[in-house]
Every structure is written in structure tokens, then in C-alpha cells.
Symmetry: C2
Amino acid sequence: MLIRPATRADDGAIAPILLPVVRAGETYALERDLSERDALAFWHSPGHSVFVAEVAGEVLGSYFLRANKRGGGSHVANCGYIVAGHATGRGIARAMAQHSFDRARAAGFRAMQFNFVIATNRRAVALWLGLGFEQVGRLPGAFDHPALGEVDALVLYRRL
Amino acid sequence: MLIRPATRADDGAIAPILLPVVRAGETYALERDLSERDALAFWHSPGHSVFVAEVAGEVLGSYFLRANKRGGGSHVANCGYIVAGHATGRGIARAMAQHSFDRARAAGFRAMQFNFVIATNRRAVALWLGLGFEQVGRLPGAFDHPALGEVDALVLYRRL
């Protein structure tokens, strides 16, 4: 697996991974009807460093790394990760996570925070807890899940 | 006290309240050397509804109201409040808070979340807990305080 910085030339490979995640609306707090253009604009937001994970030349995942806050909060990183639906269970998210920890450390970040992990996204929660994240907050009913209604979101935190 | 929507004509009154808060760097996660223009641009960010509190025609406080998250998180509001240094202890923050709850409810928000209340800001923490907020998270060392170094930030949540 090769994990490398993305360019806008990768958008054609990122979009078919990102769009189903947006349309499902079960894991990211984004409008489900976001256009492809706006979804990619979010992924490449100012301040985001975007990476892709490829296997045998095929992009199967992507993540962004950014400062979670400005000023006095800028020593804490934040990331978002997506994996192609047909490529789950192959360790791609885990590999991107490890890569993001290294990149974040190299950029001088001292911790990483996930602000809004949907509690029903059990696969993700288990992965992050297994990778050393601590649950430092639980936001009651903060996410309106398309099938389940209001569910909790978790705040996860990890020293780097 | 009159609390009313702000216009850009209020910037001249908001700036002398906002700038000292930014320069102190003890309560907001913003660059301490932010220009007046950029500080006001932050206060009036897209999606922010900005209000001012005035007493006898003098603006003594301001707050913004926005959706805390997009998509499935857009039923939760977020606010930021500032009070002029010479006007603290006069109930202005409390009055703006009550006003913001009403405005948020009227706009259809079902809860309000403060993402990053600096734990050393005891006056603010006491005010919010007294107004029905619950501490739902504690972010260890997530704020680099200019005098105290890494201090915790709190996540507060309140149903509306």
C-alpha cells in the first residue's frame, strides 16, 4: 500500500469513495445532497492536507489532516478518513491512521482530536479506541441519523 | 438593555470589545496577532448571525449564533460571546445567553453546544453551568494558554 499526498488530479478517484459516504449521511456531518463539486471542496478545504492510499495503482482511501483549532488550539490535529466501500476490512483505514499520526507529529502537532465520531459507527469507534484514542466526550443526540434519528456523537483524543 | 441584530455599521463598536479578547488569547482559539479586519471577518463568518447588546445606546457586548455542524449535526447551535472589559459583572453575558437560547429555538435548533470552553475561564464555566449546560467532555491540554501552557478545554451541551 502506498500512501501519498493527493493532487487535484486524484479527484476523479476520490469522488467515487467520498460521494457514497456523503449520500449515506451516517458518518459525516455533511448535507446528504452535497454536489460532487462541493463534497470535493470540503475534502480539500483550506488548511487540509489531503492524502490517498493506493493499492496496485488503485486509490482505495483518502484522508485529510488539519489543525483542529486556530491560535491556542493549533497544536491539536484533526483528520477525516474515507475508504472505498468494496475495500473495507483490508486495513486501509488503520494504515492511513498510522500514516496520519506520523504526518501530524512531523508537522509539530502534539495531539489528535476527532470531534464528532457517530456512536453508531461501531467499526470506526473500535478502530480508534484500539489505536490509542480515549473517549473524552459524548454529545447526547448531537447527530440526526437518517435511519435512527438522534444518536450520540463521541469526542476522541490521543496524544501523539 | 437592548439586544438586536448587528450590522457592519456596528463593527466600530464591536472591534474594541473583540480585539482585547483576541490579544489576550486566553478564551478564544484565535491567533493573538489577528488583524482587526480578520478578527471582524471571523466574528461575521458565513453562517454567523451576529447580535449586539447595548445599554443607553452604547454597545457593551456581542455574540454570534450559528449551526455547530452541517448535515446531520445542523440541529445543534453554537455561539460565541464577548463583553467589554469595563462592563463585566453587569449581567450582559447572561442576558445575551438567554437571548441566544430564544433565537436558537426560534431558528429550529434543538440543542446548543460550546466546543471549546477554556477550563481556566472559571467565570464563563460557572455562568454556563448555572444556565443549564452540562459538561459532556474534557479535552486534556487542548488549549495552549499564553501564561499557563497546556490547559484543558471543556465541551458543554444544553437542550433547548
